[in-house]
């Protein structure tokens, strides 16, 4: 017996239901159960079959799969009104967690981003627009440039032959046609069809997808020019060919959803193909250690960066990803000085397939503050051009992207937004391996629900739409190139922020 009341009500309009049984096949969480024996024994007519579907409402996670797939749309999922005697401290959620924990005695696992109601700085920043004296620019009629280069830039250029030919050799950069990349989500955490969808979308939009720490399936090697391969503490799938295949290599030190904690992929998701790609046995839990066991200092990190650069003949930019934490600014400058071509900052609301809930909900700092302090520190040290800043963690719209860039980011990663585009409903069950939408699962019956062609088109649509919106924002600002918004905090204003917060973000309050 569960220790708490069900969260959702599964309502079926029996008048409309045809008894087709589709819901019983579609729900991976065993909510709609067909009592076949009962029906047979009853000897009733086929019309009556609908009355032999039992609904285990307490299992429902509101993934909405049955709602969308029911041919006559007769299912509705409702949140049950709170059932405990209300208490402002001992909220329903708190009581639920305590009871679940008492049932199992374990660490509570959670999926997707931080659920605590921390205020969002993005929601308290507004973007400037121009009127009269600096005319806005119409992106439909004038060029509006989003092209972005990630990597090390020289401080200055030198020329030969009277200034006509270039003497300075530029380091390898990644060229993006839009500053929006797809975040690292591993093959294993998500399905091959999801990986295919994301990789194709990235290629189509002239941007990049991260592999996550699960390696790259052979079927995706042909898209490698649009792929950033990851090296994480578990070193799953890392071999020379893999490093050489991607357009860039990213070392993951930490991630926003679980700073200080390694990856966790439950054994039930380690199927045959995953085991091949990751180079680990089928069914074994893939637990990456919290730190890299060869990195205990910035010098060690530098060695790994240069080991990878050597292995790839200095043809691939090397990025380093960290969770946004109090000390991000000195850490990030250390990373850039250690030789990284970009530092990836992952904010405390970033998504995950599985993380201890207590870590996810309580550790890390907002991405906005991390971008602002890292960008400023790199400038104070005069090395902003040594490396790029990539921001990630709950970019919900092109507005968030524009604000991240104005605060100082060069580009962003989107994770959850791209999954929602694929069909994810944020049901937060990724760690169960039962994703009803074929994304965070390896069950062939479920993964086939995601058509990679459709998926690629949808994610490409999303990135394309955000890019158009970014162009609209630039036009309204009277800018025709994204580089003029980058670090341009002058075009942001704070609403409802304290002076200290304004100082941290280095923006003025609205009206000034």
């Amino acid at each position: 017996m569960a220790s708490f009341p069900p969260k959702f009500k599964v309502l079926v309009d029996k008048e409309v239901c045809t008894g087709c049984l589709k819901c019983t096949l579609q729900c991976p969480f065993d909510v709609h159960i067909y009592d076949k024996e009962g029906f047979k024994a009853s000897g009733k007519d086929k019309d009556e079959r609908k009355n032999f579907i039992v609904r285990n409402q307490e299992n429902c996670v509101a993934c909405q799969r049955c709602v969308f797939t029911c041919p006559v749309k007769c299912i509705q999922i409702e949140v049950r009104p709170p059932t405990y005697n209300p208490h402002p401290v001992w909220t329903d959620a708190v009581r639920r967690d305590l009871k679940t924990q008492s049932d199992t005695g374990g660490v509570l696992l959670a999926a997707m981003g931080n659920e605590q109601p921390y205020p969002s700085y993005f929601d308290r920043l507004v973007i400037d627009a121009c009127q009269v004296t600096n005319p806005s620019i119409d992106p439909l009629r004038e060029p509006m440039e989003l092209r972005t280069y990630l990597g090390r830039k020289p401080e200055k250029l030198e020329f030969e032959d009277n200034g006509t030919s270039l003497k300075t050799q530029l380091a390898k950069n990644l060229k993006l046609e839009t500053p929006i990349m797809i975040a690292h989500m591993s093959y294993g955490a998500i399905s091959l069809n999801a990986h295919k969808s994301l990789a194709n979308a990235a290629a189509e939009q002239g941007t990049f997808m991260g592999t996550g720490e699960g390696g790259l399936h052979k079927d995706l090697y042909h898209l490698a020019d649009s792929i950033i391969v990851q090296v994480a503490s578990g070193r799953f799938a890392v071999h020379e060919e893999y490093l050489k295949t991607g357009a860039a290599v990213e070392i993951k030190i930490g991630q926003g959803a679980k700073p200080g904690i390694g990856g966790h992929l439950p054994g039930r998701k380690i199927t045959e193909p995953i085991s091949k790609t990751r180079m680990i046995p089928v069914g074994s839990d893939a637990l990456s250690p919290a730190p890299h066991h060869d990195i205990y200092s910035i010098e060690d990190l530098s060695r790994l960066i240069y080991a990878i650069k050597e292995a790839t003949r200095y043809k691939k930019p090397v990025f380093v990803k960290i969770a946004a934490v109090n000390n991000s600014a000195p850490i990030a400058t250390g990373i850039i000085r250690a030789g990284a071509d970009a530092v990836v900052l992952d904010g405390f609301t970033a998504g995950t397939g599985a993380a201890p809930q207590v870590i996810r909900n309580n550790l890390g700092i907002p991405i906005e503050a991390a971008i602002a302090s890292v960008d400023q520190r790199l400038r104070d040290e005069g090395i902003r051009h040594w490396g790029s800043i990539i921001a990630s963690g709950s970019m919900r719209s092109s507005g968030d992207v524009a604000k991240a860039i104005a605060l100082g980011a060069d580009a962003v990663y989107i994770g959850t937004a791209s999954l929602i585009s694929l069909g994810c409903t944020v049901c937060k069950q990724c760690f169960t391996g039962k994703c009803a939408w074929g994304i965070a699962t390896q069950d062939p019956n479920l993964t086939k629900r995601l058509d990679p062609e459709v998926g690629a088109r949808r994610v490409s649509n999303l990135i394309g739409a955000w890019s158009h919106e970014l162009q609209e924002i630039l036009g309204a600002l009277g800018l025709n190139s994204l580089e003029s918004l980058r670090g341009n905090r002058d075009r942001l204003r704070g609403v409802g922020l304290s002076q200290t917060e304004l100082d941290v973000l280095d923006v003025l309050p609205a009206g000034r």
């Binding site: 440039e145 902003r384 025709n480 980058r486 670090g487």
Partner: protein
């Protein structure tokens, strides 16, 4: 909206300030009385090897503090009040002063940086003192008033220069104050500007990383500092500096046979790109450079007569001083007008 104009005689032949005043006066519909100014090159032949610092003082205390500060740092060869006439339209809220100075020998190798630093320190830390120009054999004259009244105030017609620029201001984004009028200057770079630098925040923070302090409460100063950084410090040509500040669009670069060259420029100098509507005239001792934003959202006309090159917001302003011209054209966005002295470095 603002009115701007300028000319340079490539042979270094000097004319007095009457013509430039007339030029400015022709564009009075473009500005009001909240800021006018002039830059003049070649005006101090007797002190051509010394830096001429033009300052505005709010009071005697500011002057004394500045003098104390300068005495410790540089050799003051001469200092005096900049002569003014009384003009009823302009209240004498500041005392204009000039110093001719030599940089001590120890700092000769880094003379220019030393001077930039000196200017930044005065402007940043001496209340009521403000350096408005700091080049050799040149000077900026500016105040809150119509250019013709500013000309009368500073007796502009008494100076003879081979290159002049003028600006009348219609301030829309910042308050009118003497220091806020154009031209803006650092060393021998002077900038007059019509429009708005919408990329100001990006440019400012890039310059701050390179040791410049943008304290003037206006966006034009970044242009002067960018020229100083790109041309003087990075050793780039004026042409390259213009293609950094107002670069070609990617769609043209991708098709160009100099793709790699422009890609490197835009990658490296992305934060130095100027965005927003503008027409800008930049002078230094050797040249006059005029250019527009990438889609030409502000007017700019150029003309030539013999060895003189003219630029202005309006053709009428040029025709008023030289009705017959050899050539008149409207420079396209991204095609700067660059006129250099035939004998660069000439007096």
């Amino acid at each position: 909206m603002c009115g701007l104009g300028g000319f340079i005689n490539k042979d270094g032949k000097k004319v007095d300030g009457t013509a430039i005043t007339t030029m400015g006066g022709m564009m009075e519909a473009r500005y009001d009385e909240r800021g006018g100014g002039f830059a003049a090159y070649g005006i101090y032949p007797n002190h051509s090897d010394q830096y001429a610092l033009h300052l505005l003082f709010d009071d005697e205390r500011a002057r004394e503090a500045t003098e104390e500060y300068l005495k410790d740092r540089v050799n003051i060869v001469k200092d005096e009040c900049i002569p003014t006439a009384s003009v009823k339209e302009i209240a004498p809220v500041h005392v204009p002063w000039r110093y001719f100075i030599d940089v001590p020998e120890d700092f000769e190798a880094v003379e220019a940086d030393f001077l930039v630093d000196t200017v930044m320190k005065i402007n940043g830390s001496i209340p009521g003192a403000f350096v408005i120009s700091s080049g050799k054999n040149m000077g900026v004259f500016k105040a809150t008033g119509l250019p013709r009244n500013v000309a009368a105030l500073f007796k502009i017609s008494d100076y003879k220069a081979y290159a002049w620029s003028v600006h009348g201001r219609f301030p829309t984004n910042t308050q009118g104050w003497w220091g806020g009028a154009h031209p803006f200057n650092i060393l021998d770079w002077s900038v007059v500007h019509n429009g708005e630098i919408s990329s100001y925040g990006t440019n400012k923070r890039y310059l701050e990383m390179h040791g410049y302090e943008c304290k003037l409460r206006t966006d034009t100063e970044v242009v002067a500092y960018l020229f100083d950084l790109l041309v003087r410090k990075h050793g780039l040509s004026a042409e390259v500096a213009c293609s950094i500040m107002s670069p070609p669009f990617w769609k043209n670069i991708d098709r160009s046979d100099k793709r790699e060259y422009y890609e490197a420029l835009r990658m490296t100098y992305a934060p130095a790109m100027l965005n927003g509507p503008f027409a800008i005239i930049v002078n230094n001792k050797d040249s006059m450079i005029a250019f527009n934003d990438r889609i030409k959202l502000r007017p700019l006309i150029a003309a030539e007569l013999g060895e003189t090159t003219f630029v202005a917001s309006e053709e009428a302003a040029i025709r008023e001083i030289e009705p017959e011209l050899d050539r008149v054209w409207a420079p396209r966005a991204g095609s700067p007008v660059i006129a250099r002295l035939n004998n660069a470095g000439g007096k």
